[in-house]
């Protein structure tokens, strides 16, 4: 055991820092720092900056444009991105559908889809959940019936994050009901959102923003060449993907960044009030969250180390999802506490760069604290709820 970075790792860290210092654009940074939502264009622009440096598809195999980095390099990279408050990457293309395509797709599909994902030319969304099928995903009802060289798709997908921006949606659909296990009738299908019969209806979430959607599929004709892998194997593919999703979901580096900011802020006096850093209650709570996060950081590093020696991320990744989201939500709550009354005004219009400073209620980004707090209650629900993660650990790790 040795905690030091190697010289090579230190060199890598410096390289990442220098790159970010030169290429993380000022306008995106100031929006991020002031709690202003990024537009689709901002997100795409940032992803293209990483792409041009060859650092966008960190986890992909090198032959498709990945980095070939060691787990520790990936860890360093994530930490450096978080340290400058860089925008999170939109995972649906690069981290969700792409691994399925390069693992189970055919050559034509790889050539058709991967380059545009790599360059962020095409925006993807995830069509798994349905109104009746959330935790019990295998009960999904969206049907894809074969008709010549097409599938005809009918059903409703819901909670589709950022589907309003999407060009393509990857779906789990039912291709057969005549099977021993209902999982065996599920296939993995790629659907062009512009196809006739696809309609997107916004769902407004608790904080008042449009982030998720309900997507109706009515007699949508999808060429059979858009089926990934074998018919009836979609469930297996989807499960692998979910485990990838769960390692990403811990968000250790971002949580550390937010703790650091909160500590920094707690040392400042707001309108002449005693700084919160003099309030022992507050300092202790912040420290307790940080201890939990430190533990999580090393749990993640241990998991990554075992992935490095050839093990796929297994059901243990559920642990990262559970604790990672709990820590995120604890930080959200403490930020609310720190903001006090200033967390309460609800003035969405002021989260725009051109909003006059003099008219701003509160100070800094305090009033966006509550939006984040409310919105992020989702973290323990999506990506497989934390209850479902515990069921997975109970069954597959503890063998219960």
């Amino acid at each position: 055991m040795n905690i030091d970075f190697t010289e090579e790792e230190i060199r890598f860290q410096t390289e990442v820092r220098e790159f970010l210092a030169g290429h993380y654009s000022e306008d995106i940074r100031s929006k991020r720092d002031e709690g202003i939502a990024l537009t689709k264009d901002d997100m795409v622009r940032w992803q293209k900056v990483l792409y041009e440096r060859g650092w966008f598809a960190v986890n992909w195999p090198v032959e498709h444009g990945g980095t070939g980095w060691t787990p520790l390099q990936k860890y360093i990279f994530a930490r450096e991105l978080a340290a400058v408050n860089a925008p999170p990457l939109i995972a649906f293309g690069v981290s969700m559908v792409a691994p399925i395509i390069y693992t189970y797709g055919n050559e034509a599909q790889k050539q058709r889809f991967l380059p545009d994902i790599l360059a962020s030319n095409v925006w993807w969304c995830q069509g798994y959940s349905e109104p009746g099928s959330g935790s019990d995903l295998a009960s999904l009802k969206t049907r894809a019936d074969r008709d010549g060289d097409h599938y005809v798709v009918n059903g409703t997908k819901t909670w589709t994050t950022l589907g309003q921006h999407a060009d393509w949606i990857f779906c789990l659909v039912r291709t057969s009901t005549d099977v021993a296990r209902r999982q065996e009738g599920i296939s993995f299908l790629l659907i062009d959102m512009k196809t006739e019969g696809v309609t997107v209806r916004p769902i407004i979430t608790i904080e008042g923003e449009h982030e998720v959607n309900e997507i109706h599929l009515e007699d949508v004709r999808v060429p059979v060449e858009n089926l990934v892998g074998e018919e009836g194997k979609g469930w297996t593919y989807g499960k692998v993907l979910l485990q990838h999703e769960r390692t990403n979901i811990a968000g250790v580096a971002v949580s550390q960044y937010r703790i650091d900011r909160l500590r920094e802020k707690s040392r400042q006096s707001i309108h002449g009030a005693a700084p919160l850093s003099e309030d022992r209650n507050f300092v202790r709570k912040l420290a307790a969250i940080e201890v939990e996060l430190k533990a999580l950081e090393y749990t993640e590093l241990r998991t990554l180390a075992s992935v490095a020696v050839g093990k796929a991320p297994g059901p243990e990744s559920s642990l990262l999802k559970i604790r990672g989201t709990e820590v995120q939500q604890a930080i959200d709550a403490l930020m609310m506490e720190a903001a006090g009354y200033y967390a309460l005004p609800y003035v969405p219009a002021q989260y725009a760069l051109d909003f006059p400073d003099d008219d701003r209620i509160g100070f800094g980004a305090e009033t966006s604290t509550s939006l984040r707090y409310f919105n992020n209650r989702k973290a323990s629900i999506y990506g497989g709820s934390n209850e479902i993660q515990k069921n997975i650990i109970a069954k597959h790790v503890l063998g219960l």
Binding site: S135, T205, I206, L344, P345, Y346, S370, R377, E387
Partner: protein, 379 residues
């Protein structure tokens, strides 16, 4: 000791409950919140007609002589209905200050129209630098030519946008954090130098930041005694803390019941999710939290009704409970509703936001646990 309610109290609770059920369903509430003012003046007039606005006031002021018990019964129902009309601001805060400190002339001029639902009022209890400490008053009132000149800033003034009149604690002597030296002033909202910036809050209530830029008032604006306003202010904020805690108990109970109901109707894996023991235990915990909170509420209300000096101590216990167990109930309700719990469309999200705001209002859980310790009776 007796936990039973009188017939009159049962009638009061029942009639407000039925009113909420019939006239203030979630759809209507949502309609109201998107209106111009964020609340309904018509609804407020109905509250006055029903006599709800008169409950806490003495008969000679045109009130119904209600006390903490009646206030609790009202607030619980307002919580259940997620009512956005400014009952707390008009009746408990501004009305509470007038009821305790106003001269007979002031009562006639201000209290009578408030009870009638014709005049809106606010109490400016918070300042930007004060966090939750109500004795921290930097707004200055200098004596000048037989009157006073007010200068300073107040924040999070509930109903501040609609208010025709604002009760303003200002410093007439002493240092910023002294209890002595605070005087309450009645300031008409249209007085010269009053600059109001109204905004909605996350729980769909309405508030405002208000600057007082050399606002001149005459001596008749003084509410109560010069330099001695703190006792009134503290009594009012204590009662308001009790009131929103009762509201919170109403919300907790509602969220808990709605969650139990939802769990019976939502099926996954071929069975209602209510059949999963992991969730059953969680709902048992929220039930326990509701019962424990109600117990502290009754303790606190009975002490307050008896004018017991321990009441303040108990109110802090209650507010701490609401800010911990109550917040937990709210989080569990959202979690157990799954994705539905974080949608704007469902009432659960809005109960959640109101609970969040209640936790921050008049001091959060930490603040009140500290005050619980500081106000412990010496034995």
């Amino acid at each position: 000791m007796d936990f039973s309610l009188t017939d009159d109290q049962l009638i009061l609770a029942g009639s407000i409950g039925r009113f909420i059920d019939a006239e203030y369903d979630f759809e209507s509430r949502q309609q109201i919140t998107v209106g111009d003012e964020g609340f309904s003046r018509e609804m407020w007039a109905t509250f006055a007609e029903l006599g709800i606005t008169a409950v806490p006031f003495a008969e000679e002021d045109g009130g119904l002589d209600g006390g903490p018990i009646e206030l609790m019964l009202i607030m619980e129902q307002l919580g259940r209905g997620l009512v956005v009309e400014p009952y707390l601001a008009n009746i408990v805060l501004a009305g509470g200050a007038l009821r305790r400190a106003a001269s007979s002339g002031q009562r006639e001029k201000w209290l009578t129209p408030i009870i009638a639902g014709e005049l809106h009022a606010a109490l400016a209890f918070a300042e930007p630098q004060a966090r939750y400490d109500i004795r921290n008053v930097a707004t200055h009132a200098g004596a000048e030519g037989g009157g006073y000149v007010l200068r300073g800033s107040k924040t999070m003034i509930l109903n501040g946008g609609a208010a025709n009149m604002i009760i303003v604690p200002a410093r007439t002597s002493g240092d910023t954090a002294d209890e002595d030296g605070i005087t309450l002033f009645i300031v008409p909202a249209d007085a010269r130098g009053v600059e109001i910036s109204p905004y909605p809050t996350v729980d769909a209530l309405q508030a405002a930041d208000i600057d007082f830029n050399d606002v001149t008032v005459d001596e008749s604006a003084v509410l109560g005694d010069v330099d001695k306003g703190f006792a009134t202010l503290q009594a009012v904020i204590d009662e308001a803390t009790l009131a929103i805690s009762a509201e919170a108990v109403g919300i907790m109970q509602t969220m808990h019941e709605k969650t139990v109901e939802y769990s019976k109707n939502r099926s996954q894996f071929g069975v209602p999710i209510a059949t999963f023991q992991a969730l059953q235990h969680r709902m048992v915990d929220t039930m326990i939290a509701c019962e424990q909170s109600r117990s502290l509420l009754y303790w606190s209300v009975m002490l307050s009704a008896a004018n017991d000096p321990e009441a303040r101590h108990s109110i802090s216990a209650l507010k701490y409970q609401v800010g911990t167990a109550g917040i937990e109930v709210a989080r569990e309700a959202v979690q157990l509703h799954g994705g539905m719990g974080v949608t704007w469309e469902l009432d659960i999200a809005h109960y959640f936001k109101r609970m969040t705001a209640i936790d921050a209002m008049f001091g959060n859980a930490d603040f009140h646990l500290d005050r619980y310790i500081d106000t412990a009776p010496t034995s």
